[in-house]
Subunit: 210 residues, 2 copies
DNA sequence: TCAATTGGCATACGGAGCGTATGTTGATAG
DNA sequence: CTATCAACATACGCTCCGTATGCCAATTGA
Protein backbone atom coordinates (compact mmCIF):
# COMPACT_ATOMS: atom_id res chain seq x y z
CA UNK A 1 0.00 0.00 0.00
CA UNK A 2 1.02 3.57 0.78
CA UNK A 3 0.69 4.71 -2.78
CA UNK A 4 2.33 7.96 -3.80
CA UNK A 5 0.94 11.16 -2.43
CA UNK A 6 -0.10 12.63 -5.75
CA UNK A 7 -2.26 9.67 -6.50
CA UNK A 8 -4.11 9.90 -3.21
CA UNK A 9 -4.80 13.56 -3.81
CA UNK A 10 -6.01 12.97 -7.33
CA UNK A 11 -8.22 10.21 -6.04
CA UNK A 12 -9.72 12.51 -3.44
CA UNK A 13 -10.48 15.11 -6.08
CA UNK A 14 -11.97 12.48 -8.36
CA UNK A 15 -14.13 11.09 -5.57
CA UNK A 16 -15.42 14.53 -4.71
CA UNK A 17 -16.23 15.31 -8.34
CA UNK A 18 -17.94 11.97 -8.82
CA UNK A 19 -20.03 12.33 -5.66
CA UNK A 20 -20.99 15.90 -6.51
CA UNK A 21 -21.79 14.95 -10.09
CA UNK A 22 -24.16 12.27 -8.88
CA UNK A 23 -25.80 14.53 -6.33
CA UNK A 24 -26.12 17.49 -8.71
CA UNK A 25 -27.44 15.22 -11.44
CA UNK A 26 -30.15 13.69 -9.31
CA UNK A 27 -31.40 16.10 -6.66
CA UNK A 28 -29.99 19.22 -8.29
CA UNK A 29 -27.36 21.73 -7.24
CA UNK A 30 -29.42 23.72 -4.76
CA UNK A 31 -30.79 20.68 -2.96
CA UNK A 32 -27.46 18.86 -2.81
CA UNK A 33 -26.09 19.08 0.72
CA UNK A 34 -22.33 19.39 0.83
CA UNK A 35 -22.23 17.47 4.09
CA UNK A 36 -24.20 14.63 2.53
CA UNK A 37 -22.38 14.06 -0.72
CA UNK A 38 -18.92 14.58 0.74
CA UNK A 39 -19.82 11.98 3.36
CA UNK A 40 -20.99 9.63 0.62
CA UNK A 41 -17.45 9.89 -0.74
CA UNK A 42 -15.98 9.14 2.67
CA UNK A 43 -14.83 12.74 3.12
CA UNK A 44 -15.97 16.00 4.70
CA UNK A 45 -16.48 19.56 3.57
CA UNK A 46 -12.92 20.27 4.64
CA UNK A 47 -11.60 18.44 1.62
CA UNK A 48 -14.07 20.19 -0.64
CA UNK A 49 -13.09 23.67 0.46
CA UNK A 50 -9.43 22.78 0.28
CA UNK A 51 -9.58 21.60 -3.33
CA UNK A 52 -12.36 23.65 -4.90
CA UNK A 53 -12.77 26.76 -2.78
CA UNK A 54 -16.54 26.52 -2.53
CA UNK A 55 -19.62 24.78 -3.86
CA UNK A 56 -19.55 26.76 -7.11
CA UNK A 57 -15.95 25.80 -7.69
CA UNK A 58 -16.89 22.17 -7.43
CA UNK A 59 -19.75 22.69 -9.86
CA UNK A 60 -17.28 24.23 -12.28
CA UNK A 61 -15.06 21.18 -12.02
CA UNK A 62 -18.01 18.86 -12.55
CA UNK A 63 -19.15 20.78 -15.62
CA UNK A 64 -15.63 20.87 -16.97
CA UNK A 65 -15.51 17.09 -16.74
CA UNK A 66 -18.90 16.58 -18.39
CA UNK A 67 -18.11 19.05 -21.11
CA UNK A 68 -14.84 17.33 -21.90
CA UNK A 69 -16.75 14.10 -22.35
CA UNK A 70 -19.32 15.80 -24.57
CA UNK A 71 -16.65 17.40 -26.69
CA UNK A 72 -14.83 14.11 -27.11
CA UNK A 73 -18.03 12.37 -28.14
CA UNK A 74 -18.78 15.04 -30.72
CA UNK A 75 -15.29 14.78 -32.17
CA UNK A 76 -15.60 11.01 -32.55
CA UNK A 77 -19.01 11.26 -34.21
CA UNK A 78 -18.04 13.90 -36.72
CA UNK A 79 -14.75 12.17 -37.57
CA UNK A 80 -16.21 8.81 -38.52
CA UNK A 81 -18.66 10.10 -41.12
CA UNK A 82 -18.14 9.63 -44.84
CA UNK A 83 -18.43 13.29 -45.78
CA UNK A 84 -18.43 16.63 -44.06
CA UNK A 85 -22.14 17.32 -44.30
CA UNK A 86 -23.07 13.92 -42.96
CA UNK A 87 -20.56 14.41 -40.19
CA UNK A 88 -22.15 17.72 -39.33
CA UNK A 89 -25.61 16.17 -39.33
CA UNK A 90 -24.42 13.35 -37.10
CA UNK A 91 -22.86 15.89 -34.80
CA UNK A 92 -26.15 17.73 -34.46
CA UNK A 93 -27.89 14.45 -33.78
CA UNK A 94 -25.37 13.55 -31.13
CA UNK A 95 -25.74 16.99 -29.61
CA UNK A 96 -29.49 16.61 -29.28
CA UNK A 97 -29.16 13.12 -27.89
CA UNK A 98 -26.66 14.23 -25.30
CA UNK A 99 -29.00 17.01 -24.25
CA UNK A 100 -31.62 14.37 -23.63
CA UNK A 101 -29.55 12.80 -20.87
CA UNK A 102 -30.93 13.89 -17.48
CA UNK A 103 -27.52 14.51 -15.96
CA UNK A 104 -26.42 16.82 -18.76
CA UNK A 105 -29.76 18.52 -18.89
CA UNK A 106 -29.86 19.28 -15.22
CA UNK A 107 -26.24 20.11 -14.48
CA UNK A 108 -25.07 21.71 -17.71
CA UNK A 109 -28.27 23.17 -19.12
CA UNK A 110 -30.23 24.27 -16.07
CA UNK A 111 -28.24 24.57 -12.85
CA UNK A 112 -25.00 25.56 -14.54
CA UNK A 113 -26.27 28.74 -16.18
CA UNK A 114 -28.17 29.76 -13.04
CA UNK A 115 -25.14 29.38 -10.78
CA UNK A 116 -22.22 30.23 -13.06
CA UNK A 117 -23.85 32.66 -15.45
CA UNK A 118 -24.27 32.54 -19.20
CA UNK A 119 -22.68 29.42 -20.70
CA UNK A 120 -21.30 31.31 -23.67
CA UNK A 121 -18.76 32.70 -21.24
CA UNK A 122 -17.56 29.33 -19.97
CA UNK A 123 -14.22 28.18 -21.35
CA UNK A 124 -15.54 24.63 -21.26
CA UNK A 125 -18.82 25.14 -23.10
CA UNK A 126 -16.98 27.06 -25.74
CA UNK A 127 -15.09 23.87 -26.45
CA UNK A 128 -18.29 22.17 -27.55
CA UNK A 129 -19.42 25.15 -29.59
CA UNK A 130 -15.97 25.33 -31.10
CA UNK A 131 -16.24 21.74 -32.22
CA UNK A 132 -19.46 22.47 -34.08
CA UNK A 133 -18.09 25.74 -35.42
CA UNK A 134 -15.12 23.87 -36.83
CA UNK A 135 -17.42 21.53 -38.71
CA UNK A 136 -19.33 24.47 -40.14
CA UNK A 137 -16.11 26.17 -41.16
CA UNK A 138 -15.00 23.12 -43.10
CA UNK A 139 -18.39 22.93 -44.81
CA UNK A 140 -18.04 26.55 -45.73
CA UNK A 141 -14.54 26.04 -47.14
CA UNK A 142 -15.80 23.04 -49.05
CA UNK A 143 -18.52 25.16 -50.60
CA UNK A 144 -21.42 23.08 -49.36
CA UNK A 145 -23.05 25.83 -47.36
CA UNK A 146 -23.50 29.55 -47.79
CA UNK A 147 -21.09 32.07 -46.33
CA UNK A 148 -21.99 32.63 -42.70
CA UNK A 149 -20.29 33.50 -39.47
CA UNK A 150 -19.36 30.09 -38.18
CA UNK A 151 -19.58 30.87 -34.48
CA UNK A 152 -22.96 32.53 -34.88
CA UNK A 153 -24.31 29.59 -36.83
CA UNK A 154 -22.92 27.14 -34.29
CA UNK A 155 -24.52 28.98 -31.40
CA UNK A 156 -27.89 29.29 -33.09
CA UNK A 157 -27.93 25.64 -34.01
CA UNK A 158 -26.84 24.51 -30.57
CA UNK A 159 -29.47 26.77 -29.02
CA UNK A 160 -32.19 25.28 -31.18
CA UNK A 161 -30.89 21.78 -30.49
CA UNK A 162 -30.81 22.22 -26.75
CA UNK A 163 -34.29 23.63 -26.53
CA UNK A 164 -35.57 20.93 -28.82
CA UNK A 165 -33.95 18.29 -26.64
CA UNK A 166 -35.49 19.67 -23.48
CA UNK A 167 -38.84 19.83 -25.17
CA UNK A 168 -38.52 16.23 -26.32
CA UNK A 169 -37.28 14.92 -23.00
CA UNK A 170 -40.16 16.42 -21.06
CA UNK A 171 -42.94 15.74 -23.53
CA UNK A 172 -45.64 13.15 -23.00
CA UNK A 173 -44.65 11.25 -26.12
CA UNK A 174 -40.90 11.73 -26.65
CA UNK A 175 -40.89 9.53 -29.72
CA UNK A 176 -43.49 11.54 -31.60
CA UNK A 177 -42.12 14.85 -30.37
CA UNK A 178 -38.67 13.87 -31.54
CA UNK A 179 -39.95 13.19 -35.02
CA UNK A 180 -41.62 16.58 -35.24
CA UNK A 181 -38.60 18.39 -33.84
CA UNK A 182 -36.14 16.69 -36.14
CA UNK A 183 -38.27 17.42 -39.16
CA UNK A 184 -38.52 21.10 -38.32
CA UNK A 185 -34.84 21.21 -37.47
CA UNK A 186 -34.23 19.69 -40.84
CA UNK A 187 -36.10 22.49 -42.54
CA UNK A 188 -34.17 25.17 -40.74
CA UNK A 189 -30.82 23.57 -41.52
CA UNK A 190 -31.71 23.60 -45.19
CA UNK A 191 -31.31 27.33 -44.99
CA UNK A 192 -27.60 26.70 -44.68
CA UNK A 193 -27.30 24.68 -47.85
CA UNK A 194 -26.38 26.45 -51.04
CA UNK A 195 -29.27 26.62 -53.48
CA UNK A 196 -28.59 24.40 -56.48
CA UNK A 197 -29.99 26.87 -59.00
CA UNK A 198 -27.81 29.89 -58.35
CA UNK A 199 -27.01 32.69 -55.92
CA UNK A 200 -29.47 33.31 -53.15
CA UNK A 201 -30.35 36.87 -53.80
CA UNK A 202 -33.94 36.18 -52.93
CA UNK A 203 -35.81 37.93 -50.22
CA UNK A 204 -33.65 37.97 -47.15
CA UNK A 205 -35.66 36.54 -44.34
CA UNK A 206 -34.80 39.01 -41.64
CA UNK A 207 -34.04 42.11 -43.67
CA UNK A 208 -36.20 44.02 -41.24
CA UNK A 209 -33.84 43.41 -38.34
CA UNK A 210 -31.78 46.57 -38.46
CA UNK B 1 -59.17 55.84 3.60
CA UNK B 2 -60.21 52.33 4.59
CA UNK B 3 -60.33 51.13 1.03
CA UNK B 4 -62.08 47.87 0.31
CA UNK B 5 -60.53 44.72 1.59
CA UNK B 6 -59.92 43.12 -1.78
CA UNK B 7 -57.89 46.06 -2.92
CA UNK B 8 -55.61 45.92 0.09
CA UNK B 9 -54.99 42.24 -0.47
CA UNK B 10 -54.31 42.71 -4.14
CA UNK B 11 -51.94 45.53 -3.27
CA UNK B 12 -50.07 43.31 -0.84
CA UNK B 13 -49.67 40.64 -3.50
CA UNK B 14 -48.56 43.21 -6.02
CA UNK B 15 -46.02 44.69 -3.62
CA UNK B 16 -44.58 41.27 -2.86
CA UNK B 17 -44.32 40.40 -6.54
CA UNK B 18 -42.74 43.73 -7.36
CA UNK B 19 -40.19 43.47 -4.55
CA UNK B 20 -39.34 39.90 -5.44
CA UNK B 21 -39.09 40.75 -9.11
CA UNK B 22 -36.59 43.47 -8.35
CA UNK B 23 -34.56 41.28 -6.03
CA UNK B 24 -34.58 38.27 -8.35
CA UNK B 25 -33.70 40.46 -11.30
CA UNK B 26 -30.71 42.07 -9.64
CA UNK B 27 -29.06 39.72 -7.14
CA UNK B 28 -30.69 36.56 -8.47
CA UNK B 29 -33.11 34.07 -6.96
CA UNK B 30 -30.67 32.16 -4.77
CA UNK B 31 -29.08 35.27 -3.27
CA UNK B 32 -32.35 37.06 -2.67
CA UNK B 33 -33.19 36.93 1.03
CA UNK B 34 -36.90 36.61 1.72
CA UNK B 35 -36.51 38.61 4.91
CA UNK B 36 -34.83 41.40 2.99
CA UNK B 37 -37.12 41.91 0.05
CA UNK B 38 -40.32 41.39 2.02
CA UNK B 39 -39.07 44.06 4.42
CA UNK B 40 -38.34 46.35 1.46
CA UNK B 41 -42.04 46.02 0.65
CA UNK B 42 -42.98 46.85 4.23
CA UNK B 43 -44.02 43.28 4.93
CA UNK B 44 -42.66 40.06 6.43
CA UNK B 45 -42.28 36.50 5.31
CA UNK B 46 -45.63 35.78 6.91
CA UNK B 47 -47.43 37.52 4.08
CA UNK B 48 -45.29 35.72 1.53
CA UNK B 49 -46.05 32.27 2.85
CA UNK B 50 -49.71 33.12 3.18
CA UNK B 51 -50.10 34.22 -0.43
CA UNK B 52 -47.56 32.15 -2.34
CA UNK B 53 -46.82 29.09 -0.23
CA UNK B 54 -43.06 29.37 -0.53
CA UNK B 55 -40.22 31.07 -2.36
CA UNK B 56 -40.75 29.01 -5.49
CA UNK B 57 -44.41 29.93 -5.56
CA UNK B 58 -43.47 33.57 -5.54
CA UNK B 59 -41.01 33.01 -8.36
CA UNK B 60 -43.78 31.38 -10.35
CA UNK B 61 -45.98 34.42 -9.83
CA UNK B 62 -43.17 36.75 -10.88
CA UNK B 63 -42.49 34.74 -14.02
CA UNK B 64 -46.17 34.59 -14.82
CA UNK B 65 -46.29 38.37 -14.67
CA UNK B 66 -43.20 38.86 -16.82
CA UNK B 67 -44.38 36.31 -19.33
CA UNK B 68 -47.74 38.00 -19.65
CA UNK B 69 -45.95 41.23 -20.47
CA UNK B 70 -43.75 39.49 -23.01
CA UNK B 71 -46.69 37.82 -24.64
CA UNK B 72 -48.58 41.10 -24.87
CA UNK B 73 -45.60 42.83 -26.44
CA UNK B 74 -45.24 40.08 -29.01
CA UNK B 75 -48.90 40.28 -29.92
CA UNK B 76 -48.67 44.03 -30.43
CA UNK B 77 -45.58 43.73 -32.59
CA UNK B 78 -46.93 41.03 -34.86
CA UNK B 79 -50.29 42.75 -35.22
CA UNK B 80 -49.03 46.06 -36.50
CA UNK B 81 -47.00 44.68 -39.41
CA UNK B 82 -48.11 45.04 -43.01
CA UNK B 83 -47.98 41.35 -43.85
CA UNK B 84 -47.73 38.09 -42.03
CA UNK B 85 -44.10 37.36 -42.85
CA UNK B 86 -42.96 40.79 -41.79
CA UNK B 87 -45.00 40.41 -38.63
CA UNK B 88 -43.28 37.14 -37.92
CA UNK B 89 -39.88 38.66 -38.54
CA UNK B 90 -40.70 41.55 -36.25
CA UNK B 91 -41.86 39.09 -33.64
CA UNK B 92 -38.55 37.26 -33.78
CA UNK B 93 -36.73 40.55 -33.48
CA UNK B 94 -38.79 41.55 -30.48
CA UNK B 95 -38.20 38.16 -28.94
CA UNK B 96 -34.45 38.54 -29.22
CA UNK B 97 -34.56 42.08 -27.92
CA UNK B 98 -36.60 41.05 -24.91
CA UNK B 99 -34.14 38.29 -24.17
CA UNK B 100 -31.46 40.96 -24.04
CA UNK B 101 -33.07 42.62 -21.03
CA UNK B 102 -31.18 41.61 -17.87
CA UNK B 103 -34.31 41.03 -15.80
CA UNK B 104 -35.83 38.65 -18.35
CA UNK B 105 -32.53 36.96 -18.93
CA UNK B 106 -31.87 36.30 -15.29
CA UNK B 107 -35.33 35.47 -13.99
CA UNK B 108 -36.97 33.79 -16.95
CA UNK B 109 -34.02 32.30 -18.80
CA UNK B 110 -31.59 31.30 -16.05
CA UNK B 111 -33.06 31.07 -12.56
CA UNK B 112 -36.52 30.01 -13.70
CA UNK B 113 -35.49 26.80 -15.42
CA UNK B 114 -33.13 25.88 -12.58
CA UNK B 115 -35.78 26.31 -9.90
CA UNK B 116 -39.00 25.39 -11.68
CA UNK B 117 -37.73 22.88 -14.21
CA UNK B 118 -37.90 22.90 -17.97
CA UNK B 119 -39.70 25.98 -19.30
CA UNK B 120 -41.52 23.99 -21.96
CA UNK B 121 -43.65 22.67 -19.12
CA UNK B 122 -44.66 26.09 -17.78
CA UNK B 123 -48.18 27.19 -18.65
CA UNK B 124 -46.87 30.73 -18.87
CA UNK B 125 -43.95 30.16 -21.21
CA UNK B 126 -46.20 28.19 -23.44
CA UNK B 127 -48.18 31.36 -23.93
CA UNK B 128 -45.20 33.03 -25.54
CA UNK B 129 -44.43 30.00 -27.65
CA UNK B 130 -48.05 29.80 -28.59
CA UNK B 131 -47.97 33.34 -29.85
CA UNK B 132 -45.09 32.55 -32.17
CA UNK B 133 -46.65 29.25 -33.19
CA UNK B 134 -49.81 31.09 -34.16
CA UNK B 135 -47.84 33.36 -36.45
CA UNK B 136 -46.20 30.37 -38.06
CA UNK B 137 -49.53 28.65 -38.50
CA UNK B 138 -50.93 31.65 -40.33
CA UNK B 139 -47.86 31.77 -42.56
CA UNK B 140 -48.34 28.12 -43.29
CA UNK B 141 -52.01 28.61 -44.16
CA UNK B 142 -51.07 31.54 -46.33
CA UNK B 143 -48.63 29.34 -48.23
CA UNK B 144 -45.59 31.45 -47.54
CA UNK B 145 -43.65 28.75 -45.74
CA UNK B 146 -43.29 25.04 -46.13
CA UNK B 147 -45.41 22.56 -44.24
CA UNK B 148 -43.96 22.11 -40.79
CA UNK B 149 -45.14 21.36 -37.28
CA UNK B 150 -45.85 24.80 -35.96
CA UNK B 151 -45.03 24.14 -32.33
CA UNK B 152 -41.77 22.45 -33.21
CA UNK B 153 -40.75 25.34 -35.43
CA UNK B 154 -41.71 27.87 -32.79
CA UNK B 155 -39.67 26.11 -30.14
CA UNK B 156 -36.61 25.74 -32.33
CA UNK B 157 -36.73 29.36 -33.36
CA UNK B 158 -37.26 30.61 -29.84
CA UNK B 159 -34.42 28.39 -28.65
CA UNK B 160 -32.09 29.80 -31.25
CA UNK B 161 -33.26 33.32 -30.48
CA UNK B 162 -32.76 33.01 -26.77
CA UNK B 163 -29.28 31.59 -27.05
CA UNK B 164 -28.39 34.22 -29.58
CA UNK B 165 -29.63 36.91 -27.25
CA UNK B 166 -27.60 35.61 -24.33
CA UNK B 167 -24.54 35.38 -26.54
CA UNK B 168 -25.07 38.95 -27.71
CA UNK B 169 -25.75 40.35 -24.28
CA UNK B 170 -22.59 38.89 -22.80
CA UNK B 171 -20.26 39.51 -25.70
CA UNK B 172 -17.51 42.09 -25.69
CA UNK B 173 -18.99 43.92 -28.67
CA UNK B 174 -22.77 43.43 -28.57
CA UNK B 175 -23.29 45.57 -31.66
CA UNK B 176 -21.02 43.49 -33.85
CA UNK B 177 -22.15 40.24 -32.34
CA UNK B 178 -25.75 41.18 -32.96
CA UNK B 179 -25.04 41.76 -36.63
CA UNK B 180 -23.43 38.38 -37.01
CA UNK B 181 -26.18 36.60 -35.10
CA UNK B 182 -28.99 38.23 -37.05
CA UNK B 183 -27.36 37.41 -40.35
CA UNK B 184 -26.95 33.75 -39.43
CA UNK B 185 -30.47 33.67 -38.01
CA UNK B 186 -31.60 35.08 -41.32
CA UNK B 187 -30.00 32.21 -43.19
CA UNK B 188 -31.63 29.60 -41.02
CA UNK B 189 -35.07 31.17 -41.32
CA UNK B 190 -34.78 31.03 -45.07
CA UNK B 191 -35.11 27.30 -44.69
CA UNK B 192 -38.73 27.96 -43.79
CA UNK B 193 -39.55 29.88 -46.95
CA UNK B 194 -40.96 27.99 -49.88
CA UNK B 195 -38.52 27.68 -52.74
CA UNK B 196 -39.65 29.77 -55.68
CA UNK B 197 -38.62 27.23 -58.31
CA UNK B 198 -40.63 24.21 -57.27
CA UNK B 199 -41.06 21.48 -54.67
CA UNK B 200 -38.23 20.95 -52.24
CA UNK B 201 -37.43 17.36 -52.85
CA UNK B 202 -33.78 18.10 -52.56
CA UNK B 203 -31.49 16.43 -50.09
CA UNK B 204 -33.15 16.50 -46.73
CA UNK B 205 -30.73 18.04 -44.33
CA UNK B 206 -31.16 15.67 -41.44
CA UNK B 207 -32.21 12.51 -43.24
CA UNK B 208 -29.73 10.63 -41.11
CA UNK B 209 -31.61 11.40 -37.89
CA UNK B 210 -33.75 8.31 -37.58
C1' DT C 1 17.95 9.12 10.42
C1' DC C 2 15.62 12.78 12.42
C1' DA C 3 13.60 17.17 13.16
C1' DA C 4 11.11 20.83 10.76
C1' DT C 5 7.81 22.10 7.69
C1' DT C 6 4.21 21.95 4.61
C1' DG C 7 0.09 20.33 2.54
C1' DG C 8 -4.16 17.51 2.97
C1' DC C 9 -8.07 17.00 5.34
C1' DA C 10 -11.21 16.91 9.66
C1' DT C 11 -13.47 19.30 13.41
C1' DA C 12 -15.65 23.19 15.64
C1' DC C 13 -17.99 27.37 15.71
C1' DG C 14 -20.92 31.23 14.29
C1' DG C 15 -24.26 33.20 11.28
C1' DA C 16 -27.84 33.32 7.88
C1' DG C 17 -31.86 31.66 5.76
C1' DC C 18 -35.92 28.92 5.41
C1' DG C 19 -40.27 26.57 6.92
C1' DT C 20 -43.72 25.96 10.42
C1' DA C 21 -46.36 26.76 14.36
C1' DT C 22 -48.52 30.11 16.81
C1' DG C 23 -50.25 34.64 17.95
C1' DT C 24 -52.81 39.01 16.85
C1' DT C 25 -55.81 42.14 14.63
C1' DG C 26 -59.33 43.85 11.90
C1' DA C 27 -63.10 43.10 8.73
C1' DT C 28 -67.24 40.77 7.48
C1' DA C 29 -71.39 37.82 8.23
C1' DG C 30 -75.40 36.54 10.59
C1' DC D 1 -73.20 42.99 18.42
C1' DT D 2 -70.51 39.11 18.51
C1' DA D 3 -68.37 35.30 16.49
C1' DT D 4 -65.56 33.79 12.99
C1' DC D 5 -62.15 33.84 9.69
C1' DA D 6 -58.82 35.77 6.67
C1' DA D 7 -54.56 38.46 6.53
C1' DC D 8 -50.75 39.13 8.18
C1' DA D 9 -46.68 39.26 12.09
C1' DT D 10 -43.79 36.91 15.45
C1' DA D 11 -41.07 33.21 17.33
C1' DC D 12 -38.71 29.01 17.21
C1' DG D 13 -35.86 25.26 15.50
C1' DC D 14 -33.57 23.25 11.94
C1' DT D 15 -30.31 22.87 8.15
C1' DC D 16 -26.78 24.58 5.66
C1' DC D 17 -22.82 27.24 4.45
C1' DG D 18 -18.22 29.53 5.22
C1' DT D 19 -14.21 30.18 8.10
C1' DA D 20 -11.00 29.40 11.66
C1' DT D 21 -8.54 26.11 13.83
C1' DG D 22 -6.38 21.66 14.77
C1' DC D 23 -4.20 17.29 13.65
C1' DC D 24 -1.64 13.95 11.09
C1' DA D 25 1.18 12.13 7.54
C1' DA D 26 4.37 12.76 4.02
C1' DT D 27 8.12 15.21 2.17
C1' DT D 28 12.39 17.83 2.69
C1' DG D 29 16.95 19.05 4.12
C1' DA D 30 20.90 18.24 6.83
Amino acid sequence: MHRPRREMIAETRAKLIAAARHAFGTVGYAEASMDDFTASAGLTRGALYHHFGDKKGLLQAVIREIDAEMSARLKVVSARADNLWQGFVDECTAYIEMALEPEIQRIVLRDGPAVLGDPSQWPSQNECIHSMAESIRRLSDEGTIVAVDVEAAARLISGASLHAAQWIANSDDPKATSKKAVKAFNVLLEGLLKRPGGPQDRMRALSGMH
